[in-house]
């Protein structure tokens, strides 16, 4: 038999591949018969050639046509329900694995859904606003500074030179949280504080669209002292939304008339204002007027352009306009550009006026974390199900003997995956809104999004469901459906499927590396946070409170300062524009002509702090040369910091004393030099700065407290405050808290990494636990024999942990470079940062090793301490 010639195998395979079932057998028979005959008449070579020709000749519609598969649930519902029932029985039989799979999948699905909603929310900011494509923010960017608040003279330049701009409006939030007072019919006064308030130019309502309930948006803010209000706030203040014509008092100073009511702005908007008031009087405060180089980020200009205008030429024109429009003597170091509305929320470089921005990098990191967690859960699924092959082999074998084909078995296992994934999805979708409500601390805002109600989300969720099913189910179903029934029924599967182990190991390495990556990121973020809290700021921020002053009334400030200093538990009091380290800053240009007139004038930008004479002592800033300000107003003197000192080419502070520096066009004499202190958070390098003593432009009162009885002191301060500024609510913040608030974003990143690492560890540990119980059962006999031959429980534990230890180590080798790269680029956001330490990596490796040991320890110990006789005896 063996010597008989046969047609080439590859051609046979090709024929079997394309030919349908109903024609395969008899056609192959005919081909074979012809071949055998031709071998005798024409010889082997010709016979093979003819065979090939005939196979090609048979590529015809009737051989290619596929019969309808008998497996369509609604054509053969019995089969479908039978399989469903089997699936449920199998799930019950392997209850612990079902639980592990569902738990892991649900955990990662919740995380993924939350991230999915968060990212969707952030990417859709202001997309639904009509005319969103024509609204822009005007930015002024220099080579190393980025301003969203443009200098005041530029407003006029834009208004006169750009006919394409249909409407322009400044949003002004340069004020403290206002107190609104209403008087009801009975003469009772009620006070409200509301944060989401903005002062706007009347044209604001032509640019931004709201759903109006009452009032005319075109005229509502035309008159000074008019306001429009959101429905929810109207209801809160007046108990009704019918409030047009009613009045309220702003900070007990100005009477405002309500001229319109609109529906509350949506959740995803940069302009979440509930109260908009018309800007009256001066458009900007006096210190910004006519200044070509002063930026205040709390005044932002928005424009709406004509839909037919060409945005590129508009931008080009805008970029060059200041070369001709600005006075020659001004040293303009920035260019203007338009930023599309849709980019504003994703731009963290510029100050966000309504809602904090989020960078694309952060969103990318979130998505990556979601993908990691999902992959980790799918790996569990794949590993557990491929390990179950030894237990499921007989079932598959028998099904095949009874006529199931690979495709049927494949679909059966996919159905099993589908059922598990559906269960996980249901749980996750039910729990996600709860998590969203609790996750404010990580997301940075409340997201009251319900999944069920949003029809637009369901196609995404469906697509996501299919993806998870394929990711988790494809490989196990493929592997299980290929089982050879003969081998399965002879109980020989273990030998023939040993190869699958390498893939499983690869997946486990991936899982280990994901959790180690997250652990490393978490540890580095924690260290950096620690650093933020402990790094010296250059000034003393303990026991210091800051209060915003309501008015620049020189007499009252003087009076309250004296009143405070009566209290022995108050060490000192000072007034300044924004304290020591602050979120925002004031910037002016400076010019300095060195004494030896050979050198040219040095020009640049400098931060400016408006302070009083007690500023340096209250904040404990170190003076390296000269003297502190002596009086309340020493307007022609200034104190500079060391960075500015270096910038003007001097090394010794004493050399600078008495020299003249021009700041914002005015000449000042340098009377002192202070050691550098942090003017902003540690994100930024210390900039050049000048201190100018001018009580009239201060907004912050700093109070240094000593002594033990803090509450009593605070009560006294509060009392004095409200006495001096009647109708004003005393609100203070500890400087420590203010400094901590600079790092809220980083804190959130750290918490995100912590949570992600914990979830990844949980999923990984669950999977490992499931896997080890299967492996321990399979290696039962091996353990028995080892024990008979003298192995101790410890030896066996060591064998098992060594297997996984290598995988942990391999995972670490993959994780370390990725985590290093990711964290180095994260740390680059900060001017002051920690170096990456080896200890972090060692700790991450040890931690994941320990977690691995804990997950496998108990099961392994149980198997290892069994009586070997039970394992070896084979009945």
């Amino acid at each position: 038999m063996k010597n008989l010639p046969s047609p080439p195998l590859w051609i046979q395979r090709f024929f079997r591949w394309y030919c349908n079932q109903s024609h395969q057998e008899h056609l192959e028979g005919d081909l074979f018969e012809l071949f055998e005959r031709r071998v005798n008449t024409h010889g082997l070579r010709r016979a093979k050639w003819y065979y090939f020709r005939d196979v090609i000749d048979l590529v015809r519609p009737f051989t290619l046509r596929r019969n309808i598969s008998p497996y369509y649930p609604f054509i053969y519902p019995d089969m479908f329900f039978h399989q469903l029932k089997t699936v449920l029985r199998n799930m019950r039989r392997n209850a612990s694995f079902t639980l592990i799979n569902v738990l892991g999948l649900t955990l990662s699905l919740i995380a993924t859904l939350v991230i999915f909603l968060k990212v969707g929310h952030d990417l859709n900011f202001d997309r639904s606003m009509p005319a969103a494509g024509y609204i822009f923010r005007v930015l002024a960017d220099g080579s190393d500074h980025y301003h969203a608040g443009i200098p005041e003279p530029v407003y006029e330049v834009i208004r006169t030179n750009f006919p394409q701009i249909e409407a322009m409006a400044v949003i002004d939030r340069n004020f403290e949280v206002p107190v609104l007072t209403i008087t009801d019919e009975n003469g009772q006064k009620k006070q409200f504080k509301e944060e989401q308030v903005a002062m706007v130019w009347p044209e604001y309502l032509k640019i931004f669209t709201y759903e109006w309930i009452a009032g005319n948006p075109l005229t509502a803010l035309e008159n000074p002292h008019s306001a429009v209000i959101a429905r929810s706030m109207a209801e809160r203040m007046y108990g009704t939304s019918d409030v047009v014509g009613k009045t309220f008092s702003l900070n007990q100073e100005t009477e405002m008339l309500i001229t319109g009511v609109y529906n509350d702005p949506p959740l995803s908007t940069n302009f979440p204002f509930l109260l908009l008031m018309s800007k009256s009087g001066d458009l900007v405060p006096p210190w910004l007027k006519g200044q070509w180089n002063s930026f205040a980020e709390t005044f932002q200009l928005y424009v709406k352009i004509n839909p037919h205008a060409d945005i590129d030429s508009l931008n080009a024109h805008l970029a060059g306009i200041l070369k001709t429009a600005a006075p020659k003597e001004e040293n303009i170091l920035y260019t203007l550009r338009l930023q599309p509305l849709k980019d504003i929320h994703l731009d963290t470089r510029h100050y966000a006026i309504g809602k904090p921005a989020i960078s694309r990098t952060t969103l990318g990191a979130l998505v990556l974390i979601a993908v990691f967690l999902l992959i980790s859960a799918c790996i569990n699924f794949i590993n557990l199900n491929t390990s179950l092959i030894f237990q499921r082999a007989k079932e598959v074998g028998l099904r095949k003997v009874l006529g199931s084909q690979n495709g049927n078995i494949f679909r059966f296992f996919m159905l099993e995956t589908g059922v598990l994934v559906i269960i996980s999805f249901f749980i996750a979708i039910a729990l996600t809104p709860l998590v969203l409500r609790q996750a404010e601390f990580i997301l940075g805002e409340k997201l009251p999004i319900s999944l069920v109600g949003q029809l637009g989300l369901w196609p995404w969720i469906l697509a996501f469901f299919v993806l998870v099913c394929l990711l988790a189910g494809l490989y196990p179903a493929f592997l299980l459906s290929r089982i050879n029934p003969v081998i399965a029924l002879k109980n020989k599967v273990e030998k023939s499927y040993g190869k699958g182990m390498s893939l499983r190991k690869g997946l486990m390495v991936m899982q280990f590396s994901i959790s180690q990556m997250l652990i490393i990121c978490m540890l580095v973020a924690m260290q950096q946070m620690q650093f933020f809290h402990n790094a010296p700021m250059g000034f003393d921020h303990t026991a210091l409170i800051e209060v915003k002053t309501p008015a620049n009334d020189f007499q009252k400030l003087k009076q309250i300062k004296e009143a405070f200093l009566q209290d022995p538990s108050i060490r000192s009091v000072c007034f300044s524009n924004n304290g020591a380290a602050a979120d925002g800053y004031w910037q002016y240009d400076f010019a300095y002509l060195p004494q030896d007139s050979q050198k040219t004038e040095i020009k640049g930008n400098t931060h400016i702090k408006i302070v009083d004479n007690d500023y340096i002592s209250t904040y404990g800033i170190e003076l390296v040369a000269g003297a502190p300000f002596a009086e309340w107003d020493t307007l022609s003197y200034t104190i500079i910091n060391e960075t500015l000192l270096k910038m003007i080419g001097l090394n010794d502070g004493n050399e600078a004393l008495g020299q003249i520096i021009t700041i914002g066009g005015q000449k000042y004499q340098i009377q002192g030099v202070v050691k550098d202190f942090h003017l902003q958070s540690l994100h930024s390098e210390i900039a050049p700065a000048v201190l100018i003593c001018d009580i009239h432009n201060t907004y912050t009162c700093g109070i240094k407290i000593k002594g033990q009885n803090l509450n009593k002191t605070l009560a006294h301060i509060s009392f004095t405050w409200e006495e001096t500024f009647p109708g004003n609510v005393f609100e203070y913040r500890f400087l420590d808290d203010i400094i901590a608030s600079f790092y809220e974003n980083e804190k959130r990143v750290m918490e995100l990494f912590q949570l992600a690492a914990i979830i990844a560890i949980c999923i990984g540990a669950l999977g490992l636990f499931g896997l080890i119980s299967l492996i321990a059962a399979q290696r039962n006999k091996e353990i028995g024999i080892r024990k008979v031959l003298g192995a101790s429980v410890g030896n066996i534990l060591a064998i098992f942990s060594a297997d996984f230890g290598w995988l942990v180590l391999l995972g670490f080798v993959i994780a370390a470079p990725f985590a290093t790269w990711a964290m180095l680029s994260w740390l680059e956001n900060f001017a002051y940062r920690i170096p990456l330490q080896l200890g972090v990596f060692v700790l991450a490796l040890l931690a994941s090793g320990l977690i691995m040991l804990l997950s496998i320890g108990w099961k392994t110990f149980r198997v290892a301490s069994m009586n070997p006789v039970d394992a070896i005896r084979d009945e």
């Binding site: 008899h26 028979g29 015809r60």
Partner: protein, 108 residues
């Protein structure tokens, strides 16, 4: 027109009828070749068989397993009464045409 037979189909159908019980792929092919003197393409032959089976002119049954042909079973075809009608119709059509030919075409 649905039961119109093409020339090749008619030949194949006749051959199947001729072979009786033994009408399977290779046998039909051999018989066709002896009668026509031309070699028949196996693809064309089976395509015709499949087409006529779906039209209802033929039915097929699978034979028993033998050691021949590598153990692959044969598919035997037989002509149905519908097939027989179609053959008859084709023949009558042709004969009536012959009868109505002008005299100078008569071939004797």
């Amino acid at each position: 027109m649905h039961n119109y037979l093409g020339q090749f189909e008619e030949l194949v159908l006749l051959t199947v009828a001729l072979l009786g019980e033994e009408a399977y792929g290779v046998a039909i092919k051999d018989q066709l070749e002896t009668h026509t003197g031309n070699s028949a393409s196996i693809g064309a032959l089976h395509a015709a068989l499949d087409r006529m089976e779906r039209k209802g002119f033929l039915v097929s049954t699978t034979g028993g397993t033998t050691a021949e042909r590598g153990g692959r079973r044969k598919r035997y075809f037989s002509v149905t009464s519908l097939g027989k009608d179609a053959l008859k119709e084709a023949r009558t059509l042709r004969e009536s045409l012959w009868e109505n030919l002008p005299p100078h075409f008569a071939i004797d």
